[in-house]
């Protein structure tokens, strides 16, 4: 059977086998509602408590700091909308390359009297300190800057941002959805540096879709996004998705334990990949910054990203053009625009994001395929001209 090679791990990941195994009982015999007081319910509650402890341990947080949500998008919305609802409207600053599920709720807040500042980044996608300090001088109530970018993999230097932000009196949130499992994420250390809240999502780390978390310093006051029933300390109501939460817990543990081995391996694959890409004439985005080890983001001048990606798909490689989470809109990537990449080039963007099952052989095959595809497309365009 023809099995395409999956190179789109920043969009979502396959479930780790041990995660599936841990989830299955909660999809079958152990079906209780965790709020029920009988044994079916209590068993579910214990499983959730255990998962909460696992997630907390994976990121160096306390179990009581974990608020489970149904997704990373929800957790980001919960923080942005929930924290702002408890503050007097003022200035709100979010990274210009942040995920739409941070930027869009922030834009919504402008209807409630908030002023929105998108934090500018340099050509490599890093938030510039000078600009940032100028924003802080205007005393924002809330700052949100992602730890790792989903398109480029570029990392922000959070302590350098959070420390002055704390001095300026802002709540600081970071979207760590893409960072978890790929680089060390330590909430205690981040918290000490002034980060008050952090978003995680299970399906990016070998866990299931449908579970995520907001890690929250308890000093931050939040209005819930979803009311009714008082689950998750009143911050997120709704019957708990036990199976997905259990899966999330196990996935966190596996991802963090496996990282020491996986990260250098992925970094080596990515290095090989990017060497090959440069040889084909690709332009790499964000490669000058510190990055996640698994992500390569590039464009071939004169080639449309959509076309390339479609050709690659036909040849058996699943990659992304722009970001999958927002693939619903065909605009050129807002991340690349913020980095100052010309729109024509940005339209050519292709993202390869590697994961546990990928091999050196697959990378070699991919490079060959890409080269052949490029050659073929060149011939076609030559004929067209």
């Amino acid at each position: 059977m023809f099995a395409p090679v999956y190179f789109d791990h920043n969009a979502t990941t396959p479930l780790a086998p041990a995660v599936l195994e841990a989830m299955l009982p909660w999809l079958t015999a152990q079906f209780g509602n965790a709020s029920s007081r009988h044994e079916y319910g209590r068993a579910a509650r214990r499983a959730i408590d255990e998962a909460r402890a696992r997630v907390a341990a994976a990121v160096g947080a306390h179990a009581t700091e974990i608020i489970f949500t149904g997704g990373g998008s929800e957790a980001n919305n919960l923080f942005i909308k929930g924290a702002s609802a408890c503050l007097r409207p003022g200035l709100l600053a979010v990274g210009a390359t942040d995920h739409p599920c941070v930027i869009k709720p922030a834009e919504q807040l402008t209807q409630r009297g908030w002023l929105l500042r998108k934090l500018a980044v340099d050509g490599e996608g890093r938030i510039g300190t000078e600009n940032f300090l100028a924003t802080l001088a205007q005393k924002p109530g809330i700052v949100s800057a992602m730890l790792a970018n989903n398109e480029t993999g570029v990392l922000q230097d959070l302590p350098a941002l959070a420390e002055p932000a704390r001095a300026a009196g802002a709540w600081f949130h970071t979207d760590a959805v893409q960072a978890l499992g790929k680089i060390p994420v330590d909430f205690r250390a981040l918290n000490a540096a002034g980060v008050h809240a952090m978003t995680l999502s299970a399906h990016k780390i070998g866990g299931p879709k449908g579970a995520a978390a907001l890690v929250l310093d308890k000093r931050v006051e939040l209005e819930p996004l979803i009311a009714g029933g008082g689950h998750e300390r009143g911050l997120r109501s709704g019957t708990e998705n036990v199976a997905a939460i259990v899966g999330f817990g196990v996935a966190c543990e596996l991802a963090v334990h496996g990282m020491a081995e996986a990260a250098p391996r992925l970094a080596a694959l990515r290095e090989r990949l990017e060497r090959g890409l440069l040889e084909i004439g690709a332009i790499l985005f964000g490669a000058g910054a510190e990055r996640l080890p698994n992500t390569a983001y590039f464009a071939l001048p004169d080639f449309d990203g959509e076309t390339l990606v479609a050709q690659l798909d036909r040849a058996g490689f699943a990659v992304a053009s722009g970001a999958a989470c927002s693939s619903a809109n065909p605009e050129p990537s807002h991340v690349l625009r913020a980095m100052g990449v010309a729109p024509e080039l940005a339209r050519g963007a292709v993202r390869v994001s590697l994961g546990a099952a990928n091999t050196a052989g697959q990378v070699e095959d991919f490079l060959k395929t890409l080269q052949a595809t490029v050659a073929k497309l060149r011939r076609l365009t030559a004929i067209a001209v």
């Binding site: 969009a11 709020s35 029920s36 009988h38 739409p100 919504q108 009714g228 998705n241």
Partner: protein, 403 residues
């Protein structure tokens, strides 16, 4: 062989039907793609499964698939419907109407809107748990923009007159939301005739997985909402966030089964419910809460007078049942739903909810009846209230040293 404890709490949540689980698993394993991924087959396969499930959900309630938006559950659906519509139509008025026996997901959402300056009328119900239509009409105001009434009550199983309420709302141009979390697979829902604008669903009360639900948003006449979660623009902008394919597939399959098997299943469940009721009919001072006619066959909510609910639960721990509502957690309050029926406190404190489902058997019901007979005798021996009543004391005349 009896498997203990016997699960009689199907309104708290249901087991996932094995057929549903089987259909879900491939979407956890090889078909793991993100349905929003437009650039490869992993994404397309997931997206196709999501759309197929959307059709199944729509079919159960006779709606158009385009009218179905995925959420994480009925709690989120209720929040999205009520806050989303209220905010969108806030220019037209600031008054909402709901009912005191609604689920917390509706009541707490309404409280939040009150804090934002909206006005909410919480209607009483009659002693049988049903809404009084005259009282409802009287509560309508020129600035009423939204009415929210549940289809089937989660504690007492009564079916509210949604068709009549819907007609009244439609005539007046008021948005009508219905929480149908407890209704799917239990009563026929035909949105082509019901004048309902928004309807909340969840999978885990209908043999699907937890963590997935849907909101029906009528297209003709078109109902508008303000989204509550923003981001990638999923679900046509109504609700952003990666779709949990396996859960959606599970909900679709669960709703397909519900559509095909509802009639036969209800007959089976009604038989069991009647058997349980009959089995308890020779016990003194036992009261059914809520109307017996306008009621789903799955639910039997009973007050065993002069026995406190929690000690009762402890005595019958071989039965997994609930006292009060399980969806709301560990509070020691007596059920606000039973209070709303005007039940005396000692009866409200003494209620047990039995909810019967797909996998219960006659043998299980018989076991339950036998166990209840034994334990009720023992607990009444322990009860000072029972003793007083036996001595002819009228409890309502007693001066209690309340603490």
């Amino acid at each position: 062989m009896l498997n203990l404890p016997i699960y009689l709490d199907y309104s708290a949540t249901t087991p996932v039907d094995p057929r549903v689980a089987e259909k879900m698993i491939p979407y956890l394993v090889e078909k793991f793609g993100n349905p929003a991924s437009r650039s490869h087959a992993f994404g397309w396969v997931a997206e196709a499964a999501v759309e197929e499930a959307r059709e199944e959900v729509a079919k159960l309630v006779n709606a158009d698939p385009k009218e179905i938006v995925w959420t994480s559950g009925a709690t989120e659906s209720n929040n999205l419907a009520i806050k989303g519509a209220t905010h969108f139509y806030s220019g037209k008025g600031k008054h909402l109407i709901t009912v005191k026996t609604e689920h917390k997901a509706v009541l707490d959402t309404c409280r939040e809107l009150e804090r934002q300056g909206f006005e909410v009328t919480y209607l009483d119900v009659k002693e049988d748990g049903l809404l009084d239509l005259e009282a409802f009409k009287a509560a309508l105001r020129p600035d009423t923009i939204l009415v929210s009434v549940m289809f089937v009550n989660n504690e007492i199983g009564v079916i509210q007159p949604v068709a009549e309420i819907g007609q009244i709302c439609r005539d007046k141009g008021i948005i009508f939301h219905v929480d149908a979390a407890q209704a799917t697979g239990k009563v026929t829902i035909d949105l082509s005739t019901l004048k309902v604008d928004l309807m909340s669903f969840c999978a885990h009360k209908t043999y699907g997985p937890k963590g997935i639900g849907a909101l029906y948003i009528r297209r003709k006449p078109r109902v508008r909402l303000e989204a509550q979660m923003h981001g990638g623009g999923h679900e046509r902008g109504f609700r952003s966030g990666t779709l949990a394919t396996h859960q959606i597939v599970g909900m679709g399959e669960a709703f397909r089964i519900a559509r095909e098997e509802m009639d036969a299943e209800n007959a089976h469940i009604r038989k069991l419910r009647d058997r349980l009721l009959k089995g308890l009919s020779d016990i003194d001072q036992v009261f059914v809460n809520g109307d017996m006619e306008q009621r789903v066959p799955h639910n039997l909510n009973i007050s065993f007078a002069y026995i406190e609910g929690e000690s009762m639960l402890m005595a019958i721990k071989d039965l997994a049942v609930s006292s009060g509502s399980a969806c709301t957690s560990a509070s020691l309050e007596p059920s606000y739903v039973l209070r709303a029926l005007g039940r005396e406190d000692e009866l409200a404190h003494s209620s047990i909810r039995f909810t019967i489902g797909r996998f219960n058997t006659e043998e299980e019901i018989d076991y339950a009846v036998k166990l209840l007979h034994e334990k009720i005798g023992k607990l009444r021996e322990l009860s000072p209230l029972w003793e007083m009543v036996q001595d002819g004391v009228d409890l309502s005349t007693v001066q209690w040293a309340a603490h």
